[in-house]
């Protein structure tokens, strides 16, 4: 059974906008990070879908890169969250606004 590529793209778009909503609307940084991961994986899904559809391996290679970057980003993001939590004793993204000059 072959699934049309447009279905994958639609799923990818849905995932992406869930991620966007998560980042913009939720104040918990852990949720925001998870939403970012969701957006990245939505992009990954689109890349893999197109790579399959057009039989071009470049998409697969990009996915590996994106996964690597996502891992690094998650590590750094969590480290920042921990650092902020230590200082502020709660986790709220808007709390970081105090850093601005």
């Amino acid at each position: 059974m072959t699934v049309d590529v447009s279905n994958y793209i639609a799923l990818s778009a849905v995932m992406f906008f869930i991620g966007v909503a998560g980042v913009v609307l939720r104040r918990n940084p852990l949720i925001a990070l998870m939403a970012i991961e969701l957006m990245l994986n939505a992009a990954n899904l689109a890349l893999v879908a197109f790579a399959r559809a057009w039989a071009n391996n470049a998409g697969h290679v990009f996915v590996f890169l994106v996964v690597t970057v996502a891992a690094a980003e998650a590590a750094i993001g969590l480290a920042i969250v921990v650092a902020v939590f230590r200082r502020a004793k709660n986790v709220d993204v808007d709390e970081v606004a105090r850093l601005h000059g």
Binding site: V24, V93, A97, L99, H100
Partner: protein
């Protein structure tokens, strides 16, 4: 490496070596520098026959970009200058060992001198206009170094700056000529330019000739760019002899002679050169009358004699003009070196009012000075006799009777001011205050920084070069004596110079012999007037009072050298200073500083404005990114997607 390369680079190598090892070499630097220049001279001699057989010696050094091929060439004209630069230059180097013996910067002096020789060789050996311009600039630099050699004297520093600035005016003139030549011939080499010279539009040709002559006028102290030369006498006397008499100041003559194929096509350009040369010739001689400093007398006489040369090459009598360069290099170098002997013997006294009666006490200097003077005034059978007559009569032959008259008159004035100097320096009672026993040709410490006061250079170091120069001072003109219609001089140049329009068949108002006699009569008059005013025994007894009175009653025009310095000050220097002050007072604070201040204010204002956007709310930023990305996608999906 060819012999040509070696003779060109040897002085540079020596200069660098002396520069690097100066403190260790000390007086050995003099021997090294002299040896390098004399070796170049010998190398040039070995190339004599190769250079004089047409088309001469040529060597390509390298190509920069297409059209810019640099090389060296040695044709008769280059060879003549090379031989004078290295030959007379070598003798002056030898003399300098004695003259600079007690100066603790003797190594620096020889580094500069060798650098000058290299620069001058670059100028005359280049086969292209750019190389010539480089050499032209470098000799100006060397001249600046050497005029300001005693840099603790403010007057020397001022003179050096003045010389450099005026010479840069000339450099710019040549630069524009080079631009015009390259733009119209697409080449910088002399051979290409001269081959295409006939096809150049007359306007361009005239512009090029004027540009080149501005350079020649600045370097060769032609009116109105001459004011630096008398001031340049602040340098050590060997420098005056080498750079400001024998070689560098004659570069203008070389330039006009080198570009003879262009000048011969531009009668109005030639006219300009000849007239300026004649004005300089007369002016220099007139001002030579009014000087009290022995070196300034010689400086104005140099200016006047270069006027003769420029007149010669300007009217188209190239061989005559260049012949006068050739003989002048010997007798003027000799005169300057002899003046150096006197200055040394009198413990740095240069004022002729404080000399007198030195004939018995400095007999060698007397005879040397007398022979040089006889040559410069054109005494029969001395070298100047042949060259000066050739120039003067050449002006008539090429159809310039007024310039001819000026040349004849100037010959009389020359005799007057030169014998005025002889009488003031060597005859009558001694008017100075140097005791008899201290008076000798005996190099003394010449500068306050002198070291080991007890050590004296051997006197022969300074006498031998003067004695050697006496020979060509007398005989150098004999090359121009014609047998069967051609002299060694004309054979030497062969077909190098274009033959201008000579008045063949046209009746000249005076024959060549008649002209010579006329000049000699005027020269005799000049000597007689000088004798009556300064030489007669009755005059000499009251000389001190007379000279004091003459100093006071000197016409202001002569005392101020016809106000050329004041004129240049009023026309250029003061307006430039006023402009500078105006810029400093108004443009600087109200335009440049104001612009910077306003920019700072603008940056601050923008910062205040945009700071409001920076809330620190991460979700806000994320929303902005989303909106931005959505806008991009919308744009490319709808409008920009289709090309």
């Amino acid at each position: 490496m060819s012999v040509l390369d070696i003779l060109w680079l040897l002085p540079l190598a020596s200069a660098v070596l002396i520069w690097a090892l100066g403190p260790q070499l000390r007086r050995t630097a003099g021997a090294l520098g002299t040896a390098a220049v004399l070796a170049s001279f010998v190398a040039a001699l070995t190339l004599f026959s190769a250079a004089t057989t047409a088309p001469g010696l040529h060597e390509t050094l390298g190509t920069w970009v297409p059209g810019f091929t640099f090389g060296l060439q040695l044709d008769p004209l280059s060879l003549l200058w090379t031989l004078i630069i290295t030959g007379v230059g070598g003798l002056i180097h030898l003399y300098s060992i004695g003259y600079m013996w007690s100066d603790r910067a003797i190594a620096r002096f020889f580094a500069y001198m060798n650098f000058f020789v290299f620069a001058m060789l670059t100028l005359v050996l280049s086969d292209n206009v750019v190389g010539l311009l480089v050499g032209w600039g470098l000799v100006g630099l060397a001249s600046y170094f050497l005029i300001g050699f005693w840099f603790y004297k403010p007057s020397a520093v001022a003179a050096a700056k003045k010389a450099f600035v005026i010479n840069v005016v000339g450099d710019v003139g040549i630069m524009f000529a080079v631009f015009a030549l390259y733009a119209s011939t697409a080449s910088i080499s002399f051979a290409d330019i001269f081959a295409k010279a006939g096809a150049l539009p007359p306007g361009i040709l005239l512009l090029v000739c004027i540009g080149l002559f501005i350079g020649a006028a600045a370097k060769s102290a032609q009116v109105p760019l001459h004011t630096w030369l008398p001031d340049a006498m602040e340098g050590p006397t060997p420098v005056s002899a080498l750079i400001h008499a024998a070689t560098m100041v004659t570069a203008g003559v070389y330039l006009v002679a080198r570009f003879a194929p262009l000048y011969s096509l531009t009668p109005s350009g030639q006219e300009l050169v000849a007239v300026i040369g004649a004005i300089t010739m007369v002016l220099g001689a007139v001002l030579g009358i009014a000087q009290w400093d022995i070196k300034r007398i010689l400086a104005y006489s140099t200016m006047s004699q270069i006027g003769y040369m420029i007149l010669g090459v300007g009217v188209g009598a190239y061989q005559a003009g260049v012949l006068h360069f050739f003989t002048h290099a010997f007798f003027k170098a000799q005169l300057f070196l002899t003046a150096g002997l006197i200055i040394h013997a009198l413990h740095d006294e240069q004022d002729v009012r404080k000399m007198g009666g030195l004939r018995e006490r400095l007999p060698f200097a007397f005879w040397a000075m007398l022979i040089g003077t006889l040559a410069i005034i054109g005494f029969p059978y001395s070298s100047g006799f042949y060259s000066k007559d050739a120039v003067i009569y050449g002006a008539l032959e090429h159809g310039h009777p007024w310039l001819y008259v000026a040349g004849v008159l100037t010959a009389g004035i020359t005799a007057y001011y030169m014998f005025r100097m002889i009488f003031l320096v060597f005859f009558g009672p001694y008017r100075g205050d140097v005791p008899d026993e201290a008076l000798a040709i005996d190099p003394r410490p010449v500068v306050p920084h002198a070291e080991d006061h007890g050590s004296h250079a051997p006197a022969w170091l300074m006498q031998v070069p003067v004695a050697v120069l006496m020979v060509p001072t007398i005989v150098a003109g004999y090359v121009a004596i014609a047998h069967d219609g051609s002299s060694p001089w004309t054979r030497f140049f062969g077909a190098l110079f274009p033959v201008g329009e000579v008045a063949a068949g046209r009746a000249l108002p005076i024959s060549e012999v008649g002209s010579t006699l006329l000049v000699l009569v005027l020269v005799a008059c000049g000597i007689l007037v000088a004798y009556a005013r300064y030489g007669a025994p009755a005059v000499q007894l009251a000389a001190v009072d007379r000279l004091r009175r003459e100093t006071v009653t000197m016409p202001p025009a002569l005392r101020h050298a016809f106000w050329f310095d004041d004129l240049i000050d009023a026309a250029i220097v003061h307006p430039a200073q006023a402009l500078g002050m105006a810029i400093a007072r108004f443009v600087d604070p109200h335009v440049i500083d104001a612009a910077v201040r306003d920019l700072v204010w603008l940056a601050g204002a923008l910062g205040v404005l945009f700071r409001k956007l920076q809330t620190g709310l991460v979700r806000g930023y994320a929303l902005t990114i989303v909106i931005g990305a959505a806008a991009f996608i919308a744009y490319f999906a709808t409008l920009g997607g289709r090309p």
